[in-house]
Assembly symmetry: C2
Homo-oligomer: 251 residues x 2
DNA sequence: TCAAAAGTGTTTGGTTTACACCCATGA
DNA sequence: TCATGGGTGTAAACCAAACACTTTTGA
């Protein structure tokens, strides 16, 4: 097997094209975003990368996310393109590049980039974040801790959030963001967090169950205070089917 | 004023990046798509183009569409990115390029392209289609006449259609696709065409009016057979407001 | 034993659906 | 004059919002 050249050989990538990933996870009743901290700085960025000359965009995104999370077969979708001239000017990574002496690094990062934004949904409990060669840290942040990212990454993040909200009835959010087994309150909390509003506990449950996309398990989630809630899992077959038409309704 | 260099100078554009436009119009109760026919062939393509080095993606799309339709301020949105390796191999335009002797043309068209797909909504009655330098014809086609486009343009078209259907409650489709004054049956027909199913005439009208986004005019549309229907126009202020939350409902 | 979370059920009111009826127009 | 399309109205079915009561649990 031929080992891929290391990422420091920038000539293997398409010029002018990059990708940025907004990786969503859910933990402690909070929507989390995966961020990297650029080496020798306090600056935060979305995980991103470039596209190899013989690689599809989706493969590139998968590769990048695999490197950042250790996961395979991540659920991801392109949601927008960011291509304003000047958007990638003064990229702080360029400084890091100079320091680490990557070949043609400065020239590369001074290009104008058209960046394809992907959003990804991952199981928080399974992801193992790890930084790339430009960063010294890669961790989950709460949404309210993402206020000043580099370049136009806040714009990209907001665009992803907007897409997530619009597609809440058309994408398998719960399936990808929650562990295999979860409780109804956890699922509700996820929806409340994404939609940014409270939902009635009883109506939510009735509605969710009416979709016939959940299997109720015998087990309950013990350990927490208060009454132990039942565990559910997704009925994948019915779920995919139901999403074809959208989980109709305006929450 | 400095005149822009002619399009035959390909070096003024970003490498590896292109854009393809799915332009929708509505006429004779049919959804129409703008297509170009490649010179010296019977091959049809979506209108497309490249991105100047100092130009935003949106400006590039606007420029291309202005050239193809004569219209300014066209409603357009990026809806997807198409970047599979090989998608732009064997581009039939390359032959045309050889014939017309464009500088570096063959090399240019043999690149791998990441193409940004835009969909546009235009008033059929106002657009004046005209071909680009690679085509000898630019005309409206019905959806059912678009079966074998070049490269992956059918895939792009289908993706645009899917987006249109998903966004039917969130985008000002009627406002951009219909003339200023239109009848309720025309509006209904537009929705039926996009959604691909029949709607009840009376319920459609009640619902549309309940959104408060239409001004009913005194005039009626005369000339057709049968009872003359009233004309309406959009109440732009209310329309924009209403679209913020989506025209709730599952048709 | 009590506050807080979770399971289950019911009432109510608005919305959507499925219709019926009348009017206008050109063939 | 009549078939067809358009304007207006209504009853029934359905669904979603609001709310009550009971059960379980750890502090």
């Amino acid at each position: 097997m031929v080992r891929p050249k290391p990422d420091t050989d920038l000539l293997q990538f398409l010029k002018h094209v990059s990708l940025d990933c907004v990786v969503f996870g859910f933990h402690d009743n909070q929507l989390k975003i995966l961020l990297t901290r650029i080496k020798n700085t306090e600056l935060w960025a979305l995980p991103g990368g470039f596209v190899r000359k013989e690689e599809s965009l989706e493969s590139a995104a998968n590769r990048v996310l695999n490197e950042r999370t250790g996961l395979d077969n991540i659920f991801l979708k392109p949601f927008n393109v960011f291509g304003d001239p000047g958007r990638s000017e003064k990229n702080p990574i360029a400084n890091e590049i100079i320091i680490s002496g990557v070949n043609n690094g400065l020239e590369w990062f001074n290009q104008r980039f058209i960046s394809v934004g992907f959003y990804a949904l991952v199981d928080f409990s399974k992801a193992v974040p790890s930084p790339d060669i430009f960063s010294d840290l890669c961790i989950w942040k709460n949404l309210n801790e993402t206020s000043s990212l580099i370049l136009d990454h806040n714009k990209i993040l907001n665009s992803a959030l907007e897409t997530l909200r619009l597609q809440v009835n058309y994408q398998p959010l719960g399936y990808n963001l929650l562990p295999e087994k979860f409780t109804m309150p956890e699922l509700q909390n996820l929806y409340e967090t994404i939609l940014g509003k409270d939902l009635d506990r009883r109506n939510f449950q009735r509605r969710m169950l009416s979709f016939k996309i959940l299997n109720k398990l015998e087990e309950r989630k013990t350990g927490g205070a208060h009454k132990a809630p039942f565990l559910y899992e997704f009925n994948l077959q019915n779920y995919r089917q139901a999403l074809q038409n959208g989980l109709y309704g305006g929450w």
